[in-house]
């Protein structure tokens, strides 16, 4: 019964989204202000309906209602409870429902954001958002209904793909979708501005928090997905330049560019048309990502829940939104008032360079991802574009970008002084140089480029610290002499300044983590109990191989003890092969031992009849910095989000905190 009500609620959401879309248009023709505001309760209603539908599907999953086809195909009575929840979006239909749930959540949030968004812009944005909701709910109801019943209901379900029975599934898709779908709001804002024919700094200020929110979640979502793939796929890689990864990376790069260009637009009333185009492109890339993931057109290691028969519908959606918005852009953009030009050596000049490099890097990823598809269509040749391509196109474009990051931060708006900026950054150069030389000396005979990259990471981190420090110290006559004044001023800096510095330092941490992987060591051996395998500075001893039983699997586990080369105990590591009888599938569970921010990674191979095992060990120095760097970046975004400036119209407090009690970093 509750399943039928959920299905009905979804249909109701479809109808309500038509109202949400139509009311602002009608109001524009009739000039009726009150009518326009009816779009707000409609948006809230759409969200409530979809939330109910999602709740109904979750209920069916948790209760193991095997009369629902979706539950039969993806659940099992013995499946642990957390995977009964996360299994809701571990399949095509349910993940689409999560997608529209987040879409309508953002719609509802814009609907209630009365203070920060001007009324006409808000309702027009809601109308565009409603169109997206309508199309995707229609897609779910007509092609991917999660509420389909089966009769007679089987006694047991098929279980979820064991690879997905992991904590990663519980957090990765929701975070990723909050990011992907969050960019629908910036898209809707851009389309609304194009329809309205007016775009200014107020628009930029209204859009910025939404872009930032989406960006923070997308950053976390990608990082979480990367870590999940790292420990689940069993061969220790953290980024494979796989089409599905690229599909999430491209909107992230475009979103990062958008984030920076909105700042220019807000402060200097420039780059308007470009910003609107970026907003359109970012969501278009998100949609294309959805299409790539769902259609199975490109062979990937990560894809789940795809169905090519629905590809045509998604392709039609893609054509509608990308084609439609670009047509709208081509038609309306010339009518927008252009912003002014500005000096190349200035904060805005540096941000333009940032946009140039980011867009170029995004384009290389796009070409590398779609080229195999294009070539196959044209010549029937099958190719794969692997990591070397991306390493040699993306990375050379990323390095100059990273070099200008600290400069951009310390240049002034309108007219910057490059020499003064370089002088301020002198300490960063010096320390980075020492770090690079020191690393090279310590690892003599090892990789050549990696110490340089470590130096680059240090340069980014020190550059961010220096930026906060020199802003807090002040210049000229107001230059502070004592540390307590500097501390007080640092606490009083705008949150966005802190956010920028933290996020950029996060990039530095990420760069160091990536660079350190050049020193990763791998060991492979056939071991009998008692045998040892050395990897990097550690030695693993195989203690025993034995069976273990989980809730819905049987496992053959290898128990290892990790010691340092000199024999000091580090701790136990366990890796196993789990067999899931319901799917007749076996999955390797890798074992991880975290030492500081480095890890030792164990992966079990074939278990021989004579009791020996195939074992692969990796030593991954500083590997956790990769994901920690991403988390720090997201933290910077979140800090920036609390800036007073972007809460326009919010009651302005004289001072949030008395300055003396203030803590510098948060």
């Amino acid at each position: 019964m509750i399943v039928e009500v959920g299905h009905f609620a979804l249909a109701l959401a479809l109808a309500l989204s038509v109202i949400q879309m139509a009311m602002p248009i009608w109001a524009a023709y009739s000039g009726d202000e009150a009518l326009r505001e009816t779009t707000v309760p409609a948006a809230l209603g759409v969200f409530a309906c979809i939330l109910f539908a999602f709740g109904a599907l979750t209920y069916a999953h948790v209760m193991s209602d095997f009369s629902v086809k979706n539950v039969v195909e993806n659940s099992h009575t013995l499946k642990p409870l957390i995977y009964k929840f996360s299994g809701v979006w571990g399949n095509h239909e349910g993940s689409m429902l999560l997608w529209v749930l987040i879409l309508s959540l953002f719609g509802a949030m814009v609907a209630v954001a009365k203070n920060s968004v001007p009324p006409v812009l808000r309702t027009n944005t809601l109308a565009v958002q409603a169109l997206i909701t309508f199309v995707f709910v229609l897609f779910i109801i007509t092609t991917s209904n999660p509420f389909d019943r089966v009769a007679p209901a089987p006694l047991e379900g098929n279980d979820l793909n064991p690879l997905l029975q992991d904590f990663g599934l519980a957090v990765h898709p929701p975070l990723l979708y909050l990011g992907y779908v969050g960019f629908s709001i910036t898209f809707a804002f851009a389309a609304a501005a194009l329809i309205d024919g007016r775009i200014d700094a107020v628009w930029a200020r209204a859009v910025r928090p939404w872009t930032l929110t989406a960006w923070v979640f997308l950053t976390l979502g990608i990082a979480m997905g990367s870590y999940w793939a790292y420990y689940e796929l069993g061969w220790g890689g953290w980024w494979f330049w796989d089409p599905v990864e690229n599909a999430s990376l491209m909107p992230w790069i475009a979103g990062t560019a958008l984030l920076h260009s909105t700042v220019v637009m807000e402060k200097r009333d420039a780059l308007k048309v470009w910003t609107v185009l970026l907003a359109v492109l970012t969501f278009s890339l998100s949609l294309m990502g959805t299409f790539i993931v769902r259609s199975g057109l490109l062979t990937s290691v990560h894809t789940f829940a795809s169905d090519p028969t629905r590809g045509v519908f998604i392709l039609a959606i893609l054509v509608l939104f990308i084609g439609g918005s670009l047509t709208l852009f081509a038609w309306r953009a010339p009518m927008l008032r252009q912003g002014g030009l500005f000096a190349p050596i200035s904060r805005e000049g540096a941000l333009v360079l940032n946009n140039l490099f980011l867009v170029a890097a995004c384009a290389t990823v796009l070409v590398g991802t779609l080229y195999p598809l294009l070539l196959e269509m044209l010549t029937a040749q099958k190719i794969s574009v692997g990591p070397p391509f991306f390493n040699w196109t993306f990375v050379p474009l990323a390095i100059p970008l990273l070099l200008i990051v600290p400069f951009g931060q310390s240049l002034a708006w309108k007219r910057g002084d490059l020499a003064a900026a370089a002088q301020r950054l002198f300490a960063a150069f010096a320390i980075a140089f020492v770090v690079a030389i020191g690393t090279a000396a310590l690892t003599w005979g090892g990789p050549v480029m990696a110490p340089v990259a470590i130096g680059l990471g240090a340069y980014l981190i020190i550059g961010s610290v220096l930026e906060v420090f020199s802003r807090a110290r002040g210049y000229g006559n107001s230059r502070a002499r004592d540390l307590s004044t500097i501390g007080r001023r640092a606490a009083g800096l705008p949150r966005s300044a802190w956010g920028t510095a933290i996020a950029h330092a996060g990039v530095g941490v990420l760069v160091i983590g990536i660079a350190a992987q050049s020193w990763a060591v791998e060991g492979l051996a056939t071991l009998k109990p008692g045998g040892t395998l050395a990897v990097g500075p550690y030695v693993a001893t195989l203690d025993k191989v034995g069976p273990q039983t989980g809730e819905n699997y049987e496992e053959t586990a290898a128990f290892l003890t990790l010691r340092t080369a000199s024999g000091d105990m580090v701790g136990p590591v366990e890796t196993g092969k789990r067999f899931y009888p319901s799917r007749k599938m076996s999955v390797t569970e890798s074992g991880l031992k975290t030492i500081g921010v480095s890890q030792v990674y164990a992966s079990l191979g074939e278990v021989m009849p004579d009791g020996s095992i195939g074992l692969r060990l990796y030593y991954k120095p500083l590997v956790l910095l990769i994901w920690l760097g991403a988390v720090v970046m997201a933290l910077g975004g979140a800090v920036s989000l609390t800036d007073r400036r972007i809460r326009v119209g919010a009651p302005a407090k004289a001072r949030a905190k008395p300055p003396l009690n203030a803590v510098p970093a948060e």
Binding site: W235, T299, P308, P344
Partner: protein
């Protein structure tokens, strides 16, 4: 700086970055892309040793032999041609004889394919799309063993699942 020279600076910067990006793409397009070939195509086209490509097909029944130190030998077939493969490393969980596989590496002088990556499907009903297409092109798309139909090319899952790399 005049308005004109500012605009020129901007255009020059755009042009320079784009030229670098296009240059990098073209350079890499000629060097680092990897072609997919079935055993029959390898035989027909005569691929030179040392050229990197992806070899895909079915693992020939009875061909899997394990050597010392986690080395394995098996043969990849598309029923028209067969190529022996040598690999050192852990095989993916669902690597089986008679089922689809994609390997990446290069031929040695003796005609053995030295693979450094083995990709196997990760679902009972999935076959890599390239393998399915190649088998179809050979007209060898047929019912599988044990009365189980060989899966349709457009399967329900796209997961290649675990990849094994040296």
């Amino acid at each position: 700086m005049t308005r004109k020279s500012r605009r020129l600076t901007l255009i020059a910067a755009c042009g320079a970055v784009l030229a670098v990006a296009v240059g990098l793409i073209l350079w890499q397009m000629s060097g680092s892309i990897v072609f997919f070939r079935s055993p029959a195509e390898v035989a027909a086209q005569g691929v030179a040793p040392g050229v990197r490509f992806r070899l895909g097909g079915l693992v020939l029944d009875g061909s899997l032999k394990r050597g010392p130190d986690q080395t394995v030998d098996f043969s990849v077939t598309d029923t028209k041609g067969t190529i022996p493969v040598h690999y050192k490393g852990l095989l993916p969980d669902l690597f089986r004889e008679g089922q689809g596989v994609v390997t990446e590496g290069m031929l040695d002088a003796g005609g053995t394919f030295r693979a450094d990556t083995v990709l196997a499907k990760h679902d009972e009903s999935y076959m890599p799309r390239e393998v399915a297409d190649a088998l179809k092109a050979q007209g060898r798309w047929q019912e599988g063993k044990d009365g189980k139909p060989v899966p349709k090319a457009e399967g329900s899952e796209t997961s290649l699942g675990k990849r094994s790399e040296r």
